[in-house]
Symmetry: C2
Amino acid sequence: MTPWTWHGGGITAARRHFGGDDWLDLSTGINPVPWPGVDTLHFDWQALPAPEDLRALEAVAAAYFGVDPQFVCAVPGTEIGLRLIGQSLNGVRTAHVAPSYRTHGEMVAGSIATQASRSDAAEALILANPNNPDGRLVDTERLLAQDRPWLLVDEAFADPDPDCSVAAQVADRSGLIVFRSFGKFFGLAGVRLGFVLARPEILADLRAVLGAWPLSAAALAIGRAAYQDHAWIEQTRTRLWRQAAALDAVLEDCGFSAIGACPLFRLITVDDGHALFERLARRAILTRPFAEQPQWLRFGLPADTAGLERLRDALRG
Amino acid sequence: MTPWTWHGGGITAARRHFGGDDWLDLSTGINPVPWPGVDTLHFDWQALPAPEDLRALEAVAAAYFGVDPQFVCAVPGTEIGLRLIGQSLNGVRTAHVAPSYRTHGEMVAGSIATQASRSDAAEALILANPNNPDGRLVDTERLLAQDRPWLLVDEAFADPDPDCSVAAQVADRSGLIVFRSFGKFFGLAGVRLGFVLARPEILADLRAVLGAWPLSAAALAIGRAAYQDHAWIEQTRTRLWRQAAALDAVLEDCGFSAIGACPLFRLITVDDGHALFERLARRAILTRPFAEQPQWLRFGLPADTAGLERLRDALRG
């Protein structure tokens, strides 16, 4: 079970273990219908990326997040951003809401797992909103009202519902740090692009570690074009909610009830999630089981109706 | 002078300041004839890069460096690698050989500038070999014989002459850390790919900060293919030395004497390097001046004979 509970995307391991070629990968929370503009872009692989291009990307992304660019720092994947900020909090009494994204518990040494609703004495709190894998939304007003020096909000899955974002609050709250991901909503996780949103003095320390060329020519060009493609962004938000509703209906048809407020993945609770994972894997459908919550199984969105019907057949069969 | 003394590659600023469209960029140490295979590769931008692909790249690069893969960690650009290792040396009494690459002096707080030949009491020494911008080679045997806990060698420009590399020694010297760059020799700086070579326990800490997906799909695919293209690597080594000799001959013809053991750039000493920089810039040729060594001017390689002749005309005119 190890390669599949560790993180989604273990399709190579699945192929090796279960056989089969034509796998339907529902193991991630990545939009299966990516932003389509990549092939129209030219990447200057030869030159070192110009600092102006990095600033231009941050400006475009900042407009999308609804903040001033001075509060935005691009990073080569949110994962590195989370870990670098975690390092800078070394020694701060920290709690992370769990279960959630595994890295949240590894960012700051000695961080204690907690629950969103429980009050604790931590000086720093790390959580995802919406949460992964259960898609739970927190009450951001209550969260921001807490008197806590540091609040770290991973909004990797916030793009389908921008109203849940606290990005705009970084200007007013000195200890608020927000993380945004490019790859999930835009369906291009291989680009490695993320953003840390915080007060400029926090970002100055982060930039000092990243240096002047943190992003590839491709990340700069793709991010800049995609965040400006307002029509695609709007259509995609609508499509994701529609596709999630269709997935929920199939799950419901088969006797399962999906939970969560994020359309990029759906979570069900069953008697034996690992058995269901195995049953689907033998039909070459990869889902996401969880080592410590064996009753859970997470489904990413099928890209099309054919994928959805294939899932329905497998769940029934 | 600021945008050009800070780092090579300020072609946008040069265009704005001096006018002109058809610039010859000799301001960097990047091979102007890049590895040609990029267009034949397919990049999977959609999926998160598989951990197997990262390990495969590190294995191919390790073979090229002449070390076991357990001593190699890929990073998204050497710049980040230098700065992350620098952070981990916080509190260590450090010296950096100067003048050299600016980042070496910023990696560890309180680092003292020193000269390669001078003995000092630092516990950690950072230097480049060959050095940039003067192309000086250090005597690596004498360097390794020093009884110093930490020795950091930036081999960003070592590829044309692999004999100067101490990469193979990381297996035997616990405090030796070697940095290698992909972009300069392969002429693809926009890919953002570098490597830190050190003992596994040092790399484990580095990997803990980088997370599982430090590289883009493009960096993984390009690096893996390019480091295996032994024929191109051999031809390029020969070509770079030949082109550097041709550049030296042009400089000599015009009354300048180039120094250094690295064919990716040549350094000359003149009465007023900034005046010569300006004179060339008015002919749309960008070179690399230095704020604190105004008598220096560095030239990257022209890509072809036409560029070389254009430089000759400008130096004479």
